[in-house]
Amino acid sequence: MTQVTNKGIAEIYRRESRGVLATLIRVLGDFDLAEDALADAFAAAVEQWPRDGLPKNPAAWLVTTGRFKAIDRIRRKARFDASLTEVVERLGGTSVAAVEWDGEDMKDDRLRLIFTCCHPALSSEAQLALTLREVCGLTTEAIASAFLATPSTIAQRIVRAKRKIRDAGIPYEVPERRDLPERLENVLGVIYLLFNEGYSTSAGEAATRPDLTSEAIYLGRLLADLLPEPEVLGLLALMLLHESRRPARTTEQGDLILLEEQNRTLWNRELIDEGSALVRRSLESGRVDAYTLQAAIAAVHSNAESAEETDWTEIVGLYGVLLQLTESPVVELNQAVALAMRDGPAAGLARVDAILNRGELGDYLPAHAARAELCRRLGRTEAARASFERALQLTQQEPQRRYFERRLQELQN
């Protein structure tokens, strides 16, 4: 008999609870009931495992126990509410009496949960909150602090989302093959949004929120394991390659350091190698998608000794392919910056001005920041000052504000 400690159970909770919850939601057909069942199952484990030993398959034990506890709960309630009798019959019926067990089932349940939480019929705020709560297991308080909202706002958002899932009949399923590309795009969008909010916060004191990037990477890894489509690998690669630079992106005081000026020896080599390998794996599929292209660009940076030694021609070319695919002015802006590195600031500035003159990106901070930097390099101090000031107006993030003020100060001297 395996000795079981509370620490051991806590470890199993950390590893298995999200998967067990995903399966319980399918078996019980209800989010709240499944959450209660999960709590009941672990309470039973704490009591029984130290006494009886660890079951051979703890996850299966937890699902079976959770299901029985849920039926118990409903039976007790059914005494007062006749409408629940039918639910008891359904759950206790022979059709689900024996929960068939294999790892594949649980894997599929985790995918079902991701696709349900990221269903496009839910608002994007609700998708984010629900994914963090149900798939990542974050508390309402943790989610609230991540999005600078109150816990009651987040709790309400989650309650409403669950109600919509139930009342509108959002199914607990992985979409059919023909719907998969669009629906997967939405899931990847949720994960990427989460990552970006952690990588460069939209407002507040801190420039980065490592707690959010690590949840996004966790989701990316999970999805890459469950559904290794090229764009899933591409997104994971992109996140890992960006995350690898985090130790070098800010000073000890939390001030931002530009890519060019970062101490590259601080970059996390392990993440770079993993990310670069994922880019290669994704490209081998012969399909090309926006995430993989962005990851490929990040990989070129990651594998260069310095800004000067970066293969800017390669980067300009990759942005060109990405631009054809997305037709996004943001991508065009990034290409303009790469162009400035390859052909000099005047060439880059001409492109940036062309984009801004089209009236696009007028309120997009990086466009003004890029323009300011290129003007500064060209010695056009007045134009640089105006653009830094515009960027300063647009930022809501404290470290960014300090950065632009510093730049303005330098122009004066």
């Binding site: 269903h119 019929a121 009342d167 509108a168 009949g169 959002i170 199914p171 399923e173 059919e176 719907d179």
Partner: protein, 110 residues
């Protein structure tokens, strides 16, 4: 589950669709056993709004809400879940020019 698919569109946009196409889609929904009812509506200019307040009927000309996109028709369908309802609604010709609002039907409790 039953879903009501409400078709909203600017009325001028609907002119690009033919009745024949709309009927064909409706027939194929029926053939799949998913159509409970489906109808197109006359122009919003024909709309009459009614309220009963304190037992008194008041009648006004026009729709409930003046909007750019008008209610132009509906499909009441049977579908196992929202994903299937979305699949069915995507076939509605007016989805290409307007918006289909998909609403689950609430069963009234006796």
């Amino acid at each position: 589950m039953k879903y009501l698919c409400l078709v909203y569109s600017a009325e001028t946009e609907l002119e690009s669709l033919t009745d024949a196409e709309c009927m064909a889609v409706s027939e194929s929904m029926a053939a799949a056993g998913q159509r409970i009812a489906a109808e197109a509506l006359e122009s919003v200019q024909t709309a009459t709004s009614l309220r009963v307040r304190n037992g008194k009927i008041s009648i006004t000309d026009g729709p409930f809400a003046e909007t750019k996109e008008q209610l132009a028709g509906f499909y009441l369908i049977e579908a196992p879940d929202l994903n299937d309802a979305i699949r069915v609604a995507a076939e509605i010709p007016a989805a290409r020019v307007g918006t289909i609002e998909i609403r689950p039907v609430r069963e009234l409790k006796p």
